[in-house]
């Protein structure tokens, strides 16, 4: 220490404290960076490997050493695309997911609105019940459901499967839309009433424009839930399989490179879809994305 003027005695402790606080802040930053990196790798590495392998020749896929740059060989994908049944399965998947999306919003959003706006007996029980449907194991339900479907003629239909997927996606739709509606001050609706609106008009003119981005996001979420679902799809359909069920059945015995091609076809649409609506998802989870 070559300081010409001695520090005041009480200055020592605070400067120590400041140094410690700075260290702590730095350590926190590192920790956050590390966790974020790990999480990103956790998601990105598998996706990357799938894409690389899907775009490699069959010999590269099973050979060694691996290249981390795809050779952009389209033969696996081309073969896969030409495979009998893939096109139909893809179409089925899209249709089931689309129906699920529409149904879960049409049914889930009103329930969300009721949860957000009204006080009714058993409100909390209802909220928990909605979540509990997700805790109920699907395998337990599968057999009786299949029997019931056969009895009413819903077995092996797109609509039947969409009903099951709607049930899976509904809890999210209800809870997400409830939080969206809670985010719109009730007073805005009341103001609309005093300005000449009926309840429905106020909803359409004031609430809907404010929540529609979030509604779109939760619709996409329902779409993805359905798109990814494989168990019910495999049990409830035979001829009209969705892509997931089809892949499970056909690729089990296929060579490795075809499995990768299948995985890529399965992952890509969901990924693109999520990417397209990422803004709303961020808004939905309350993260400012600016």
């Amino acid at each position: 220490m070559t300081a010409t003027a001695p520090l005041p005695a009480h200055g020592a402790a605070p400067s120590d404290e400041i140094a410690r606080a700075l260290d702590l802040a730095r350590a926190k930053r590192w920790l956050v960076a590390a966790v974020v990196t790990i999480l990103c790798l956790w998601v990105l590495v598998p996706i990357y490997l799938v894409l690389v392998n899907a775009l490699s020749t069959p010999s590269e896929v099973s050979g060694w050493p691996k290249s981390f740059v795809p050779s952009f060989a389209m033969e696996s994908l081309a073969f896969f695309a030409g495979y009998r049944g893939v096109a139909e399965a893809l179409l089925n998947s899209v249709m089931v997911a689309a129906i699920t999306m529409v149904l879960s919003i049409v049914i889930g959003a009103p329930a969300g609105y009721a949860l957000a706006r009204f006080d009714f007996a058993g409100k909390n029980a209802f909220r928990i019940l909605v979540l509990m449907t997700r805790a109920f194991p699907l395998p337990l339900l599968a057999l009786p459901l299949a029997v019931a479907y056969i009895q009413i003629g819903l077995d092996d239909t797109i609509l039947g499967l969409a009903f099951v997927h709607t049930m899976l996606a509904m809890p999210f739709a209800v809870l997400i839309t409830a939080s969206l509606f809670m985010g719109v001050p009730f007073e805005l609706e009341e103001a609309a009433w005093t300005l000449g609106c009926t309840r429905l008009q106020a909803f359409v003119k004031v609430v809907l424009p404010l929540v529609s981005p979030g509604i779109a996001a939760s619709a996409v979420f329902a779409f993805v839930v359905s798109w990814n679902e494989v168990f019910a799809a495999a049990v409830l359909t035979i001829e009209n399989r969705t892509l997931t069920a089809f892949l499970l059945q056909s690729l089990n015995v296929s060579p490795l490179h075809l499995k990768f091609a299948g995985a890529a076809v399965l992952v890509l649409p969901a990924l693109l879809f999520l990417f397209a609506v990422r803004k709303y998802l961020f808004a939905m989870w309350g993260i400012a994305n600016r």
Partner: protein
């Protein structure tokens, strides 16, 4: 014709009663100011009249027509909300136009009315903005403009100027009063601000704990507060209160004996407004604690027989802290209160 009659209105939230049997009559074209401390039920009463809250008991009529079964849109009212409730997804223009468009008014007319209302509230240069781009005071003026543009029969305003600076508030207040007088709208106006209440009101209704404790002209409310609460709530500085005990010659207040009401009680309360006292040979004696010059006047805080006592005196009178002052109350301005019921003692009992 749009007089408002509220009869026996009661509103409870669970076990809590926010309004206790409110009776209120507002004449056609009257400007009524609802005044009261925070949490006394002003907003609740306004919301009941607007139809946003269902009363637990009682009746509401507007223009002689029972409205309590009707939804807000059928009551011919417009309301300015305490928290503005400006629609965030619409521009200022569309916000003000909202109610007019609901009436299916032609575009040219909408445009004209929106501009007129916006000009009145000095927000004509903000018409293209969204509420997220406005300050609190600007948002508040949008809310007022939106209600004015409706040209309603009854206008309910919940602290519509609370967020403006003093100068702008003064200006808006005058503007509002002019506009509403011209349009002959029946208005209920909620405020905390007693100066605002005095300057705007045809009559004032003072609320306290879910009751209307006084409903009279501004001057009557000021001069003859019906309860001790009204006296201490209205007027700045508030009314002074001192205990009075019965003597053979009259009532003794801090050592001074004066004539008072002929009632059968041992102690009552003496009250006088700070500006209704003058220095004199005999009077209430107290020690000066603080002197605050206010320009034309000075506010003197004293200790009279152990009680806080405020007086407003001419500023040319020299007063210093520590001095002893002798002040005579103007006899015609002295009021008496019953300390148990907290209400004013009937003035016919006071010999004049």
């Amino acid at each position: 014709m749009a007089e408002i009659t509220v009869a026996g209105l009661e509103k409870s939230y669970g076990s809590f009663t926010a309004l206790h049997g409110i009776d209120l009559h507002v004449e056609d074209r009257e400007f009524l100011v609802l005044l009261g401390a925070s949490g006394c039920g002003k907003t609740t009463l306004l919301r009941c009249i607007a139809g946003l809250e269902t009363a637990s008991r009682g009746e509401i009529a507007i223009g002689g027509r029972r409205v309590d079964p009707l939804p807000p849109r059928a009551r011919k009212i417009a309301m300015v909300f305490q928290n503005y409730a400006v629609f965030p997804h619409l521009t200022v223009f569309e916000n003000i136009a909202f109610g007019l468009r609901m009436k299916k008014m032609p575009n040219a007319e909408v445009d004209e009315k929106v501009r007129r209302a916006a000009t009145m509230m000095h927000i004509e240069q903000l018409l293209a903005r969204y509420s997220g781009q406005l300050s609190g005071g600007q948002r508040q003026r949008v809310a007022v403009a939106r209600a004015l543009a409706m040209e309603p029969e009854v206008l309910l305003m919940d602290e519509p100027l609370s967020n403006l600076d003093a100068l702008l508030r003064l200006e808006m207040r005058a503007e509002l009063k002019g506009v509403l007088q011209e349009s002959r709208t029946t208005t209920i106006y909620v405020t905390h601000d007693q100066v605002e209440a005095m300057s705007l009101a045809d009559r004032i209704a003072v609320m306290h704990g879910g009751h209307i404790v006084q409903h009279a002209s501004p001057l009557d409310v000021y001069r003859d507060p019906a309860t001790r609460f009204v006296g201490s709530f209205i007027g700045n500085p508030p009314m002074n209160f001192l205990p009075a005990t019965r003597t053979t010659a009259g009532w003794e207040v801090a050592g001074l004996t004066m004539p008072g009401p002929a009632i059968d009680a041992h102690t009552i309360e003496f009250a006088v407004r700070p500006e209704d006292l003058t220095p004199a040979e005999t009077g209430l004696t107290g020690r000066v604690k603080v002197v605050e010059p206010l320009g034309a006047h000075q506010l003197v805080t004293m200790d009279v027989a152990g009680h806080h006592f405020r007086v407003v005196l001419e500023s040319d009178l020299v007063v210093r802290p520590g001095e002893t002052l002798r002040l005579a109350p103007r006899p015609e301005r002295v009021r008496w209160f019953d300390p148990t019921s907290q209400t004013a003692i009937d003035r016919s009992l006071v010999p004049s």
